[in-house]
């Protein structure tokens, strides 16, 4: 049982049920403020830059990117893995914590799930473009065709990846939408605007809150949660097999699946923290997302950071212990020393060392500290993917193949574009959808109170 006296209330300020509704939907009622329009303008500009870069890529071809014969995977794959990793937080948050009955998830899961859907959408753009002729992307669907019918290679991790990402996007979007039903109904019944009533009424699908609906809703949440928990582990494991089945030094390792999954949850939790720190600051949601919530995320981040540090050490150790000269070269002369030291040490410092500052209670409860460290973690996770993709490809077995890699402005444009699309999506989300699950907040409002008496 949750003991409030030891852990503090999940929602502070002795709210009534009506107050919770009013507080959560108030940002949607009021005008969003100047900062929102400025942020949306900047994000749209970034998205437009991205669309321009995509236009150039589609009309002129992959040659406009920095990739070459040796480094066949460049920024697009780095950013794809980075975004997919961020996209793991929503599922990890809402589903692992749902199954483990961690009730503090209720204040954060809606935002985390929204972030997941948007991050996976941003991620999906990149491999699609990387196919080269994106208008033929439908070839990857296994459908009866006039080419034989020739089927896709079901043994290929690249095909698994396509299946996993498509399924992940659809499943996380449905799980997220399911959770919004009772809240849309609340807005439908609460609002005075006719347009809002019609729109939210349509999307609430006729929700009434009857006991029959609630029991089905709860069991559906658990069914979806239970099976989607497998997805968190499988999707990024599959992304890691894209690399691990290759023979490149530094890729061909059985450590990859757990290493990638943990890294994904790491970057996802960091991104959730970035967003929640900003949202609770702007909308003064500190009663709902309390210091204890942020503290809990920070503690998880310390733990994952230790796993990441262990994984980095293991990789280096195994390269040395295997005695394989190519592995030795990649790790000791191309990562720890050599041309890519900034990225390697950046990764180690940002992911394994700086998050250790969360051992200090003062930093766990300081919003500036949380914001900076969470951003540093996401930078570190980007370095990690750069390390994996670029260092192995640029200097592999044959020195005559060695090539340096540099992104072009088009690569940068596509990346900035995905960030812009993601940011636009987040801004629209905080404007039009309740940022926290209202009905779930109500169910934890008085939790643990009876023990106190």
């Amino acid at each position: 049982m949750y003991n409030r006296r030891i852990r503090g209330p999940l929602i502070e300020g002795n709210k009534t049920l009506g107050q919770i509704t009013a507080d959560v939907i108030s940002p949607m009622e009021a005008s969003p403020g100047l900062w929102w329009f400025i942020a949306f303008g900047i994000s749209s500009m970034a998205a437009l830059f991205g669309l321009y870069a995509i236009y150039i890529t589609v009309t002129k071809g992959i040659g406009t990117w920095g990739v070459n014969n040796s480094v066949g995977w460049g920024w697009e794959i780095i950013n794809f893995v980075w975004w997919i990793g961020i996209g793991h937080a929503g599922t990890a948050f809402s589903i692992f914590l749902l199954i483990l009955r961690q009730r503090w998830r209720t204040s954060i899961n809606r935002a985390a799930e929204a972030m997941t859907v948007l991050a996976v959408m941003a991620a999906a753009i990149l491999p699609a473009l990387h196919m080269g002729r994106v208008w033929l992307a439908f070839y990857i669907f296994p459908y009866p065709n006039t080419r034989g019918p020739l089927w896709v290679n079901f043994n290929s991790p690249l095909f698994w990846d396509f299946v996993a990402i498509t399924a992940y996007l659809l499943i996380s979007a449905s799980f997220w939408y399911l959770g919004t039903l009772p809240d849309f109904a609340t807005i439908r019944d609460k609002t005075t605007s006719k347009i809002k009533k019609a729109v939210y009424g349509f999307f609430s699908l006729g929700w009434t809150g009857s006991s029959r609906q609630w029991i089905r809703f709860e069991s559906l949440s658990f069914v979806l949660g239970g099976i989607a928990a497998v997805l968190v582990v499988s999707v990024h494991s599959i992304v890691s097999t894209d690399f691990a089945v290759g023979v490149e030094p530094g890729w061909h390792t059985t450590l990859f699946p757990p290493y990638f999954v943990v890294g994904a949850i790491f970057s996802g939790f960091a991104m959730v923290m970035t967003l929640m720190v900003i949202i609770r600051k702007i909308y003064r949601f500190t009663d709902y997302v309390t210091d204890n919530h942020m503290d809990a995320i920070a503690r998880i981040l310390i733990f994952i950071s230790l796993i990441m540090g262990t994984a980095y050490a293991t990789e280096v150790f195994v390269a040395w212990y295997s005695g394989n000269e190519y592995e030795m070269f990649t790790f000791f002369h191309n990562r720890i020393t050599g041309d890519y030291t900034i990225q390697f040490w950046g990764m180690v410092i940002c992911n394994a060392i700086i998050p250790q500052l969360f051992w200090f209670r003062k930093i766990r409860r300081n919003w500036v500290g949380l914001l900076i460290i969470s951003l540093v973690i996401n930078l570190g996770m980007w370095f990690e993917r750069f390390n994996i993709v670029i260092t192995s490809l640029s200097k592999d077995f044959l020195p005559s193949n060695w090539v340096a890699y540099k992104p072009t402005i088009i690569d940068i444009g596509v990346y900035v574009g995905t960030i812009g699309i993601f940011a636009c999506g987040v801004l629209l989300f905080i404007r039009y959808i309740p940022m926290m699950a209202i009905s779930e907040l109500k169910s934890v409002n008085r939790i643990g109170e009876k023990i106190e008496d």
Partner: protein, 177 residues
Amino acid sequence: MTMMYKIGIFDEEDKFISSIRMLQEQKVTIFDVFTPYPIHEVFHLLKRKSKLPTAAYFFGLFGIIATLGFLYYTSVIDWPIVYGGKPFNSFPSFIVVTIIITIFTVTILSLAAFSLRSKLFPGRENTIFDIRATDNRFVIVVNMDPNDKSLSENAEKVMQDNGAIEIVNKELENVKA
């Protein structure tokens, strides 16, 4: 056909639950209750159960068989190709796709089952007995028997005693649970 309903509105979960309990002791048939969030005691008292987990199991079974069947058909029967010396039916490398498609099948079919059983789909307008049930009120709806006045009077008294803030009678058409 119109039916009469007695609607009791409560502002506290405890009063609401003890009222359900006493109504059941008095043998009053409760049509349904409406709450802003799920309350497990209510499911227990009204004996609400969901068969969705069982259904989901069969959806999963269907997903596994259909996916493996499809992979076997395409890779062994329809267009066999040797990839890196592996057998046509290279089962271990089919597992990943099977897991993902099974999860996907379960999700889609469970959502469809939920939507059908709970009668929730776009544009649907279910009867709302009290608009505040999605905000901060707990609502009990009791069927009124026109032939037995004493039962409905009894229901009213029980709800009053348990601290209902409002009790109204409503005549509604074609309400389905």
